[in-house]
């Protein structure tokens, strides 16, 4: 059976949540396969990330290089090519770093690439069977990857349960020498610009009235702000509303926006993509209003209303106003 490697993201010396999920993803591929964490970076932050990874994984490979103080996909790629054995399965999280690194890495390893996998169905001969989603989660597909030359997989964050025990005691092996020197870079990291805080800080809101593309027109925003006012809610949104410049970026909920922890989250005209849901934490009471009764958001919500928001929200507002007198 192929060896499995898991690429560990870390920040400020702490392993990312996905580090705890990839071990369970690996077990779903083959519970018998040896699994090794690969942790790249530099200095003491790298060392503490490695110690944490050693509690989750039976083996940890460390790549320590000053050039990786800020990990640039183009810098770490040739190092991984130098150390990952031919035919191995390499798991990465499907987020902005994994999406940057994995496709090109699969070419350089001459391996198959399975992007954004949500589940595995195991190995059959020299085929790795997995499940993906298409069309924003509206349909799923079974996919088969040829394992003979190895496979690079990006795994959807949150799709596998985290390893709660973290009771391993893996050995940390320094692979920096084998990984080789940093390449001359054709892409150079300059700086990270931190997002501005907007007029409302939705990360602190208790009630969020959140709108998506279903609002259809900028003029209809009024409906939502009016309702939010009578409810005492703040207004947040999905990404297309920010892309259209109808609301400021600081109101966007999701993996590339804000992480919110309200008590109540009301999703109006939002389909329920994993990038959007990834920004909702703390198990709030979720209400979804969507005109498509099959919208994936209804799988994530506690209570659903199949309705046109442009008609439903004003009626809800009227009823609340009556109640408040």
């Amino acid at each position: 059976m192929a060896e499995i490697f898991a690429y560990i993201l870390h920040k400020d010396g702490k392993a990312d949540d996905t580090a705890y999920e990839l071990i369970n993803a690996a077990a779903k591929i083959d519970p018998e396969a040896p699994v090794t964490a690969v942790v790249a970076g530099s200095g003491s932050e790298l060392d503490s990330a490695c110690s944490e990874a050693a509690k989750i994984y039976p083996a940890v490979w460390k790549i320590d290089n000053e050039a990786l103080a800020y990990v640039n996909a183009e810098a770490v790629r040739p190092m991984l090519v130098n150390i990952i054995p031919k035919g191995a399965v390499l798991l990465l999280p499907h987020e902005h770093f994994g999406m940057d690194l994995a496709p090109g890495l699969s070419i350089k390893l001459d391996a198959a690439y399975l992007p954004d996998v949500v589940d595995f169905e195991g190995v059959e001969g020299s085929t790795l069977n997995a499940i993906r989603e298409e069309f924003s989660g509206m349909v799923s597909t079974h996919v088969a990857a040829d394992l003979s030359g190895g496979v690079v997989v990006t795994v959807r964050p949150g799709a596998f349960a985290p390893d709660e025990d973290a009771a391993a005691s893996g050995e940390v092996v320094d692979k920096s020498g084998d990984a080789g020197a940093a390449p001359a870079l054709m892409r150079r990291y300059l700086e990270t610009l931190v997002a501005e805080v907007g007029e409302v800080d939705i990360t602190k809101s208790e009630i969020l009235l959140s709108i998506g593309r279903g609002i259809e027109d900028e003029e209809n925003l009024e409906i939502v702000f009016d309702l939010a006012k009578v409810m005492g809610a703040d207004v947040s949104c999905s990404r297309p509303i920010v892309d259209a410049k109808w609301l400021e970026k600081s109101r966007q909920v999701g993996t590339s926006g804000q992480t919110v922890k309200p008590k109540v989250y009301i999703a109006c005209g939002i389909s329920g993509s994993f990038q959007h849901l990834g920004g909702i934490k703390g198990s709030p009471f979720i209400v979804a209003v969507n005109k498509n009764p099959k919208a994936p958001i209804f799988q994530a919500a506690d209570v659903g209303v199949a309705a046109d928001i442009l008609e439903f929200l004003p009626e809800l507002q009227e009823a609340i106003e009556e109640l408040k007198g």
Partner: protein
């Protein structure tokens, strides 16, 4: 600046309900409304804006069947200078690598400084740009939401990372970038714009024109195969409120009050 933008014709999933065919071999395509992939449209707009600032040309290329031509033409109506339609039975069943192999052959026939793709398309894979760059040994950046031309050797790009933060990079030309939505505001294309380019010749290229071996693309060359489409067994999901609108609202208000959803 010579810019190539790779685009895909896709069912518009915000306009359509996507249903799986009875035998699971495909989705129901008969009544679908198709358009250009949302991410690609931002890429074409960005290319046009760069060209208008620094000069050069914008070429739009797409791999796909006969119908794909309408999407190439639409992007030309937006302002792209040239279109190239990559069509061959041999492309059928290509995986990401097969598509990247096809586009690599096209890139090698031209002399492009900048190659743009969308960050992802309808299959949510987001793979072709990164693969293409690796095959060409060009630098790559994904999820780009800002481009600033520095000079004819390099550009500055912003990448969208977590929490709405932006990672700034300097990148040498030629390079490949995958474009994230929101980088610009794509212009509207009216019927008149489409009419203007209605009779423009769009060259079609197949495997022999591109000089690629039919065995390395399409189903023959694919290491990854989609076996079927299915609708997963759904969990319990939400409790759907039923009844007249009044009844629904009454129940909803009760629930919201109980959960602290009305202050």
């Amino acid at each position: 600046m010579e810019i190539l933008v790779c685009v895909k014709r896709v069912p518009d999933s915000s306009e359509n309900e996507i249903e799986v065919k009875g035998d699971g071999t495909d989705i129901e395509r008969d009544d679908l409304v198709y358009s250009v992939n949302e991410w690609d449209n931002y890429a074409v707009e960005e290319a046009i804006q760069i060209r208008d600032k620094v000069g050069g040309t914008v070429t739009v290329a797409s791999v796909g069947d006969e119908e794909t031509e309408e999407v190439i033409r639409r992007e030309m109506a937006m302002g792209a200078d040239n279109g190239i339609h990559l069509m061959d039975d041999a492309f059928e069943g290509s995986d990401g690598k097969g598509l990247a192999t096809t586009l690599k052959a096209l890139v090698e026939q031209g002399s492009y400084d900048l190659i743009l793709t969308g960050a992802q398309a309808d299959d949510g894979a987001g793979q072709v740009g990164g693969m293409l760059a690796a095959m060409l040994d060009y630098p790559f950046a994904s999820l780009v939401n800002l481009i600033e031309v520095v000079d004819d050797k390099k550009i500055k790009v912003g990448r969208e990372i977590a929490g709405g933060n932006q990672e700034m990079n300097e990148i040498d030309l030629p390079c490949v970038l995958s474009i994230q939505t929101g980088i610009n505001e794509p212009r509207y294309v009216g019927i008149r714009g489409i009419r203007k380019v209605a009779s423009v010749e769009i060259p079609v290229k197949g495997v022999s024109d591109l000089g690629i071996d039919a065995g390395v693309v399409g189903a023959a060359g694919a290491k990854v195969k989609r076996l079927d489409y299915f609708v997963p067994e759904l969990g319990e999901g939400a409790e759907m409120l039923e009844g007249s609108t009044e009844e629904i609202i009454e129940k909803l208000i009760e629930l919201l009050k109980a959960k602290g959803g009305i202050k």
